[in-house]
């Protein structure tokens, strides 16, 4: 076919379409190029339009054949054989755009270019750098690596200490401990276990009443009762949903160059929390996030939920002022590949963008096979790259429409026809400004302006911006419609070429859309991508299939990590060679298989783990074990763990009696200005919601580059990248926050007020109560004395009521600041 095409006159054009730069031009033409054209390009153009400069002006490159024919934002620079088309000649002639800017080239040089284009623009410059090599990855060999082999349910091993295990998990753990000469720690006391499991499942400390009830329940079923109750509480989803939001790099503004708000991100957040609370099977959880828009739905509600789930693909941090449109598209795709592969497969497929993966058997072709899927998908984040007016980045047309009645909430203006009309007018005006050429708008606005259009392009652009800003400000007055969400939809389905070294201007062969080969099984069928679909649905099904060796393992490991503070594979987001191998492969496989057997139920897996003996044992130090396994890789004890910032904040509010358990309607971000970029300091500077609202922390808006102070101090993860395992640092800013922040003092005061309202309690009883509330235990006699002495020293006179209250507040605060409160044992 290709050979035949070669006989047609539009040979070159077809070559271009096919992305096959393999012409064999006449040697005379090449010589002409080398003597007359290349030197001029090199001298006058490459500095601004060469691949040496990452951000070529106008988004185009003149130093490769592909680049010069592809052109930039205003179309191809050169169309071989056609001197009327292409932007290059016009620019050289100084018609419109004047190039090069240093001065018009002599007419004889321009005539050379004309001649060259007329002869078909022969151009020997092969875009491929000399050192570029097609893949050498041996995928077959790569499949031998542990993570690419399917998990197999292990045989239950024999253990010496046969009374210790309560179930299979314990047997697998104990067998390994015994083989390593380690001994499991003794069981934690019941109070410690209750505090541990309550914090782990809900992110809150247990109340003294819950504690009493559990201690009094002598039934062997007492543990199960607690766990079932915690799993059924809405607080479970708020805690575990947040874990997933770390993985999903959830945020409510886009960050980077133009930090505009993403007012509908909260819909995805709520969807995640609900998914955990409803125990949505994990395979389904994957399907909806990647391809919810393509799934059948029996009700409008289900359809809405499916659409909202695809917000996963639209939440990334993108640079809205990226100059090169192709680069931007590929950066978006890259972000989606990274998020998807790290979240579900714990693989860093993104590393294969510019070259074969350096460590894992992932060839560049695999990357572009996945890239094709996302290139064929349209992201609807509500934001767009570089609008002409440079202000209307927020674009309502770029969102998913939900099947919800409009005007039922703060958007009730939508029911008012007058307002509705004005709103539409404004939107249309902004749309026009966004897409029409600057000149046309200026003409139009000039007609109504009293002054003539200014000649100065900088000033006129600034003026245009002011006009659009005016429109945007008026739009800001209308509360946003509620029936929208972030997400994706199908775009134009097409395969993409391998981008050599990631450069969108240097293309190699085209790769059919597909997945990571090493995770596929040879000869596996059922995931063929048709010509009229992106392939997202197949990708989702391929990820969520039981034969995928990674998917179940990765999630089971994430769950284990959150319950023990350390994964069986400690590098929870990287199961590749640069990650760590599993410390107990049989245990990991057991959990993975079990997870799938129980219909991918997160709750059932968590239940089994927290009811194990391995989970129940204490954090006690043991010299001998510590010598053999200082990092507790084999789980001979529970790990003492610093509470996450959300658990610290929520528990403090809870103890103070101020925690608001209701889920806020939407997010305060819905009311932020869309006319301004948060990064410019001209917009609504986000206030510190962590201290100004009493919702659970998962509902505090996450604004990129404007994280709450408390979040920054206590290692909240950077919300632009998948982060399944948070850092834990210990720095004085944490101490300063706990002892000096007015917010912490407020919680202490509120708690003290409630405490003192209980009539006729003795000082000792009150101290006991404070210990139970904050540390979930009774004070020792020494601690009691110490507390009494402290309270005495803090109040000048016993009788004075205010003194009394502040003394107790300071006591509460001391316990809030204690390491024992900040850690869960």
């Amino acid at each position: 076919m290709r050979l035949l095409l070669g006989f047609f006159s539009n040979f070159l054009f077809f070559q271009l379409l096919l992305g096959q730069p393999s012409e064999t031009p006449s040697s005379g033409g090449i010589e002409f190029f080398e003597t007359k054209i290349r030197p001029v390009l090199a001298k006058h153009c490459y500095a601004c339009h060469g691949s040496g400069s990452k951000n070529a002006m106008g988004g185009f490159f003149l130093d490769t054949r592909e680049g010069i024919r592809k052109g930039g934002n205003s179309g191809p620079a050169v169309v071989p054989g056609d001197i009327q088309a292409g932007t290059l000649l016009a620019a050289l002639r100084y018609e419109g755009r004047k190039m090069p800017p240093s001065g018009k080239l002599p007419d004889s040089v321009i005539a050379d270019f004309e001649k060259w284009i007329a002869m078909g623009a022969p151009d020997p410059r092969d875009g491929k750098p000399a050192n570029w090599k097609e893949s050498v990855v041996n995928v077959e060999e790569g499949r031998k690596y542990w993570a690419f082999q399917n998990p197999v349910k292990p045989a239950i091993p024999k253990v010496k200490h046969s009374k210790w295990p309560l179930g299979v998990i314990d047997q697998l753990v104990l067998a390994q401990l015994e083989s390593k000469g380690l001994e499991p720690a003794p069981d934690a006391d019941r109070a410690t276990w209750l505090r541990r499991v309550t914090l782990d499942l809900t992110g809150l400390v247990p109340t003294p009443e819950q504690m009493q009830a559990f201690l009094a329940d002598r039934s062997p079923l007492a543990w199960e009762r607690v766990v079932d109750k915690l799993l059924a509480s809405p607080q479970f989803g708020e805690r575990w949903g947040r874990h997933w939001l770390d993985v999903a790099r959830y945020a409510e503004s886009v960050g980077r160059g133009r930090n505009y708000v993403m007012p509908y991100a909260w819909r995805y957040r709520d969807w995640v929390i609900d998914a955990f609370n409803q125990d949505k099977p994990y395979d389904r959880f994957i399907l909806e996030q990647l391809a919810g828009d393509l799934l059948p739905a029996s009700t409008p509600e289900e359809r809405n939920r499916n659409l909202i789930a695809t917000g996963f693909l639209a939440l990334g941090s993108h640079d809205l002022i990226e100059q090169n449109a192709d680069m931007f598209r590929m950066d978006v795709v890259d972000e989606q590949i990274n998020a998807t592969s790290r979240a579900f497969l714990a693989l860093t497929v993104g590393c294969a963008r510019c070259h074969d993966h350096k460590f894992d058997p992932i060839p560049t072709a695999d990357y572009y096979a996945m890239a094709g899927i996302f290139r064929s998908t349209e992201m609807l984040s509500g934001l767009q790259r570089r609008p002409r007016d440079n202000v209307s980045y927020f674009n309502l047309n770029l969102l998913v429409k939900l099947d919800l009645p409009a005007g039922t909430g703060k958007d009730s203006w939508m029911l008012d026809p007058v307002k509705q009309r004005r709103w539409e007018e404004l939107l249309a005006a902004v749309d026009e400004a966004r897409s029409a050429p600057l000149r046309a708008i200026l003409k139009k606005t000039a007609a109504s302006a009293s002054r003539p259009v200014m000649q100065n392009p900088v000033q006129t652009a600034a003026k245009l911006r002011q006009q659009v800003l005016q429109l945007l400000r008026e739009l800001d007055e209308f509360p946003l419609p509620r029936n929208l969400a972030m997400g994706v939809r199908e775009g134009r389905p097409h395969d993409v070429e391998i981008h050599i070294k990631g450069d969108p201007n240097v293309l190699d062969r085209r790769v059919p859309r597909g997945f990571v080969q090493v995770v596929s099984r040879p000869g596996e069928t059922g995931f063929e991508i048709g010509p009229n679909e992106s392939g997202r649905l197949q990708l989702a099904r391929w990820l969520a299939r039981k034969e995928n060796p990674l998917t179940a393992r990765v999630m089971a490991n994430r769950i284990w990590h959150h319950l023990f503070g350390q994964g069986i594979v400690p590098t929870v987001d990287n199961f590749g060679k640069m990650g760590e191998p599993p410390s107990n492969p049989k245990l990991l496989d057991y959990l993975a298989v079990r997870f799938m057997e129980q219909n991918w139920s997160t709750k059932k897996l968590i239940r089994e783990i927290v009811l194990s003996r391995t989970y129940r044992i204490s954090t006690a130090h043991q010299e001998r074990n510590h010598r053999l396994d200082p990092d507790n890789r084999y789980f001979w004890r529970q790990n003492r763990r610093r509470l996450e910032v959300e658990a610290i904040r929520d528990s403090l509010l809870f103890i103070a009696g101020k925690l608001d358990f209701t889920r806020p309607q939407e997010s305060p971000v819905m009311e932020f200005s869309r006319a301004f970029d948060l990064g410019r300091g001209r917009g609504t500077y986000p206030k510190d919601y962590a201290v100004s609202v009493n919702w659970r922390s998962v509902y505090v808006p996450v604004i990129r580059n404007f994280l709450p102070q408390m979040w920054e101090a206590f290692d909240f993860p950077e919300p632009s990248e998948t982060k399944g395992r948070r850092e834990v640092t210990t720095v004085p800013t944490q101490a300063l926050f706990l002892v000096n922040s007015p917010w912490v003092m407020d919680q202490a005061k509120a708690a003290a007020e409630t405490l003192l309202a209980q009539p006729q309690a003795s000082g000792r009883e009150r101290i006991q109560q404070v210990y139970r509330q904050v540390l979930s235990r009774d004070p020792t006699p020494h601690e009691l004395d110490q507390a009494l002495a402290f309270l005495d020293a803090m109040r000048s006179s016993q009788s004075h009521e205010a003194d009394q209250k502040s003394a107790w507040a300071r006591f509460y605060q001391a316990l809030f600041a204690s390491a024992e409160f900040r850690y869960r044992s």
Binding site: K54, R258, M578, E712, V739, M794, A819
Partner: protein, 448 residues
């Protein structure tokens, strides 16, 4: 063992050893091997890879991109080229030679001109993006495509800091463009992020207790620490808990150390005058410069101060005169003051913006963005004083001689601090990351 230093325990000794690139961590932690349970602050001073020429950095960030042709790049060729081409704009101010070095400095900087011999002027800088936000983030983190740790965070990660009562990286009045990313730690532990300080607020967040007197607070702290020690006793061994105990003592000391170092009360009238605090035009940046000196003196590793308003697309002649006026005397004072305290020799000053401006004029009295050629200067710690290095093409404005890409700039700054930019690595997401990624060449020509 390959592992990210996170998860359990910040800085279990083992994780530190694993994550500090190529084992210079081993050296620093040799002493810990014998006392396995001792907590070590992530900010404790660490040995550099090789002897350092500078102990600390003061980065004077000029947001908006100052025009090199009106400040520190003397280009007679541009003046003559502009006579031939109407699109070019001749330098708007006179340049004269100063000092032994004969540095050409524009008339906008009469005070700095007196410090000419201290300056190492770099006229061949270039960077990748001509857009302010991207270039600002690029300059601060080495990347604009991804969220990466900032230069200051890398430096403190590599070297720790000398004064444990103060943050290791302080940024005064940080530029709004790019926001927290400019001083963030990204995937490095949060301990390395910069602490922003707003001169108008006058204090760091939570640095003082608004309710308790010092004595009362000590009592409360004693109770907290007694609880903590009890908890540690039960735990027997836990470096992280030791870290918590240590962090409270540090915090207590910070409460007095930080306000002291941020207060200018003890500075003499002569010093205030030197920095221009008596003049409303220079007071703002003068205050920042004086604070920078105080922080440097107190042992802060990385200090950034900022001044905006350099984006002169129009009315350049009038506006750049004003902007230059605001910084000229304060910056000259900082150099003089460091010199008289014998601190200039091991303090590295870096002055510059995110890119430069074009040779071509814009709206008759302005210049557009130019990322392909711009000027920065350094002074102090280990650079060749009096050197002028590099040049831009008088027509295209692109750096043509002595080219220094911003990755090279980063490599050079690290080098002066005794850090090899190819060895200062951190493992994250399956690979070792560097400030300079796979780029960067130390500009050896400018080293003293």
């Amino acid at each position: 063992m390959r592992m990210q230093p996170s998860g359990l325990g910040v800085l279990s000794r083992r994780q530190l050893l694993q994550s500090w690139g190529c084992g210079f961590g081993y050296l620093a932690f040799a002493s810990l091997a014998s006392a396995a349970s001792n907590y070590r602050s992530p900010l404790a001073p660490r040995q550099p890879h090789f002897p350092a020429r500078a102990k600390r950095v003061i980065f004077l960030f000029m947001q908006g991109a100052p025009s090199q042709y009106e400040t520190f790049e003397y280009s007679a060729e541009l003046a003559s080229a502009a006579q031939k081409s109407s699109s070019l704009m001749a330098p708007a101010f006179r340049f004269a030679q100063h000092g032994q070095s004969g540095h050409f400095i524009s008339e906008l900087f009469p005070h700095l001109a007196k410090q000419a011999d201290e300056l190492c002027i770099l006229n061949g800088l270039h960077t990748d993006s001509p857009a302010h936000p991207q270039a600002t983030i690029h300059l601060h983190t080495g990347s604009f495509n991804f969220v990466r740790p900032s230069l200051g965070a890398w430096v403190v990660y590599g070297l720790g800091t000398e004064n444990q009562d103060l943050p290791g990286f302080i940024t005064i009045n940080p530029a709004p463009l790019g926001g927290a990313q400019n001083y963030g730690s990204a995937f490095l532990p949060a301990a390395y992020q910069g602490t922003p300080y707003q001169t108008r607020s006058g204090k760091l967040p939570n640095i003082d207790n608004q309710e308790l007197g010092r004595e009362e607070q000590r009592k409360q702290l004693d109770l907290i620490q007694s609880l903590n020690r009890g908890f540690l006793e039960k735990a027997k061994v836990d470096p992280e808990l030791e870290g918590v105990i240590e962090s409270y003592e540090l915090a207590f000391r910070m409460q007095s150390a930080v306000p002291k170092v941020l207060s200018l009360k003890g500075e003499s009238d002569a010093i205030r005058k030197l920095y221009g605090l008596d003049d409303p035009q220079t007071r703002d940046f003068g205050t920042q410069c004086l604070l920078a000196r105080r922080l440097a003196e107190a042992g802060v590793r990385f200090i950034e101060i900022s001044h905006g308003n350099w984006d002169h697309h129009s009315n350049l002649r009038q506006r750049i005169r004003q902007t230059a006026r605001e910084i000229d005397q304060p910056v000259a004072a900082l150099i003089a003051d460091l010199k008289q305290r014998d601190m200039l020799k091991d303090t590295l000053l870096v002055w510059g913006g995110e890119f430069g401006r074009t040779t071509a004029g814009q709206s008759t009295d302005g210049r557009n963005h130019n990322n392909r050629g711009f000027t920065m200067w350094m002074a102090g710690g280990g650079v060749k004083a009096g050197l002028r290095y590099g040049a831009t093409d008088p027509v295209t404005g692109a750096a043509v001689e002595g080219k220094i890409h911003l990755h090279d700039l980063h490599a050079t700054i690290l080098h002066l601090l005794g850090l090899d930019h190819t060895r200062l690595t951190y493992r994250y997401g399956g690979r070792d990351f560097r400030l300079t990624d796979v780029h960067g060449v130390v500009a050896r020509e400018i080293l003293a």
